[in-house]
């Protein structure tokens, strides 16, 4: 039963993706996708953040629904966090994406 629901969700997502592709809609309008903006390597704003998975001054890992985004660097600070968006400031050296 759980397997069937998973298949249905995957089918729905691929169906949404195909509609998005055919209508030339931007990818961040789809549910489960985060919108990430970088300002150099000093600031990153993430929209669609669903929670913090890991937090220290050298790494911040965020849950964005389908993906986990991990910012590595130094002196990382979450300057604002509200309404599903987070702003991370500091020196960002790399960004990892995981499922």
């Amino acid at each position: 039963m759980r397997k069937n629901r998973g298949c249905r969700e995957t089918r729905n997502e691929s169906f949404m993706e195909s509609i998005s592709k055919s209508l030339d809609l931007p990818g961040d309008t789809l549910p489960g996708y985060a919108h990430i903006e970088l300002c150099g390597n000093r600031e990153a704003s993430v929209e669609g953040c669903k929670g913090v998975l890991e937090y220290s001054d050298c790494s911040v890992s965020l849950n964005t629904g389908r993906l986990t985004v991990k910012f590595c660097g130094s002196d990382l600070t979450i300057t604002a966090m509200q309404d599903g968006s987070a702003v991370i400031k500091g020196t960002i050296t790399c960004i990892d994406f995981g499922n």
């Binding site: 929670g51 913090v52 937090y55 600070t77 300057t79 966090m81």
Partner: protein
């Protein structure tokens, strides 16, 4: 960011630390409970963050759930400032009074500047404007600039244009003065031109009238040089105002006597009097003199003059004293005064030769000089007319 900090200062916020627990869970629970954490930083597994006062009140159960211990490190903003001084009523009253004072007095005029005047004194212009309601302490919003300008123009006939600009607490009066009518010689009274002193005529050039002397001839004081009677071709005569150049070589002599001891005025005291200005009050500090040299200075902040200042009035008191000069100083002073007097006497003349001698006695210094000058000796002399019936 600036607006955020300003709002934070007005409504107040706290900086706190959270330690020993699950930091990520604490952050997520705060997010789920709509607690906005700002400037969230993690150092050595200690969270540093800021939040508003209301949110901090809700943070305790969340911290308990996540196993963290929260502690306020600093309180910021006006609510904490007020609560710290809530028992000091005088402070609050003083702050309110200060605000009212500034609000009220910022609507008043505290400085009046006059520019563009030369013949008409600033005091005269300020006095006219005082009568029209523009003075120190007057409410600037009650001044109707166009009406005041029109009324002031009527009261100041020597001013052709004026404008008043009120900028903050300063009233700037800009004026343009009328151009004075040049003096023209419209006197047509018939006159002769006669010699003012003895001499030898060098040039005689009549502009109006008939020449009665010739260049090179000697003339005595009072001799007729240019006649104001002009003969017509039909042998009738007309009277006119004789005018022209009568340049002659003349001889002048002058002397100056300076006694060795004489009386002179000497400044003995230089008294200073002060007047304090505060708003529209002038408070004299001590006895106030009726005259003297006054210098005012006012407090100002970034070129904005405040109605607080002081005027220093200096008065000089002169006493007569006996001056006794030695010979060298007496000669020097006599020469200086003699030269000054000659400078004024020989204005418009050319001195060809001069012979100056100095005689020094025990009691006085006498300087005498003889000069050969070239000068215009023609002066008008009225023609006496007798009417016979």
């Amino acid at each position: 960011m600036l607006l955020q900090r300003l709002l934070g200062f007005i409504f107040g916020y706290v900086s706190f630390t959270a330690r020993s627990g699950f930091g990520e869970r604490f952050i997520n629970l705060c997010r789920l409970n709509n607690i906005q954490l700002q400037n969230l930083k993690s150092q050595n597994s200690v969270l540093f963050a800021q939040t508003d006062i209301e949110s901090y009140k809700k943070i305790r159960p969340i911290a308990k759930k996540s196993g963290m211990k929260v502690k306020i490190s600093r309180k910021h903003g006006l609510p904490f400032l007020f609560s710290r001084h809530k028992n000091r009523f005088g402070l609050a009253v003083g702050a309110v009074l200060c605000a009212l004072f500034v609000l009220f007095f910022s609507t008043r005029i505290w400085r009046i500047e006059v520019t563009g005047n030369n013949r008409v004194s600033s005091e005269e212009i300020i006095a006219v404007f005082y009568d029209l309601g523009v003075y120190k302490g007057a409410a600037s919003d009650k001044i109707n600039a166009s009406e005041v300008e029109a009324a002031a123009l009527r009261k100041l006939p020597e001013i052709s244009w004026l404008n008043i600009n009120i900028s903050g607490c300063t009233a700037m009066i800009e004026v343009r003065e009328t151009v004075e009518k040049p003096e023209t010689d419209n006197d047509n009274t018939p006159v002769n031109l006669v010699a003012a002193r003895d001499g030898q005529l060098i040039i005689l050039r009549p502009f109006n009238g008939t020449a009665e002397a010739v260049a090179g001839s000697p003339v005595l004081k009072g001799d007729l040089l240019i006649s104001g009677i002009e003969e017509n071709k039909d042998l009738s005569a007309d009277l006119c105002r004789a005018d022209g150049y009568a340049v002659a070589r003349t001889n002048r002599s002058s002397e100056y006597l300076l006694p060795s001891s004489f009386k002179a005025a000497k400044t003995v005291t230089n008294k200073k009097h002060y007047t304090l200005h505060f708003l529209f009050f002038d408070i004299p500090l001590g006895e106030h003199p009726s005259s003297g040299f006054a210098e005012s200075s006012f407090l100002s902040i970034k070129n904005v003059m405040l109605p607080v200042g002081i005027t220093e009035t200096s008065t000089l008191e002169n006493n007569e004293c006996n001056c006794i000069l030695n010979k060298k100083d007496a000669v020097l002073l006599a020469t200086l005064r003699f030269s000054e007097a000659r400078l004024e006497e020989f204005r418009g003349m050319e001195v060809e030769n001069d012979r100056v001698s100095v005689q020094i006695n025990d009691n006085a210094v006498l300087i005498s000089g003889e000069y050969d000058c070239i000068e215009n000796i023609g002066v008008p002399s009225p023609i006496e007319i007798e009417y016979t019936h």
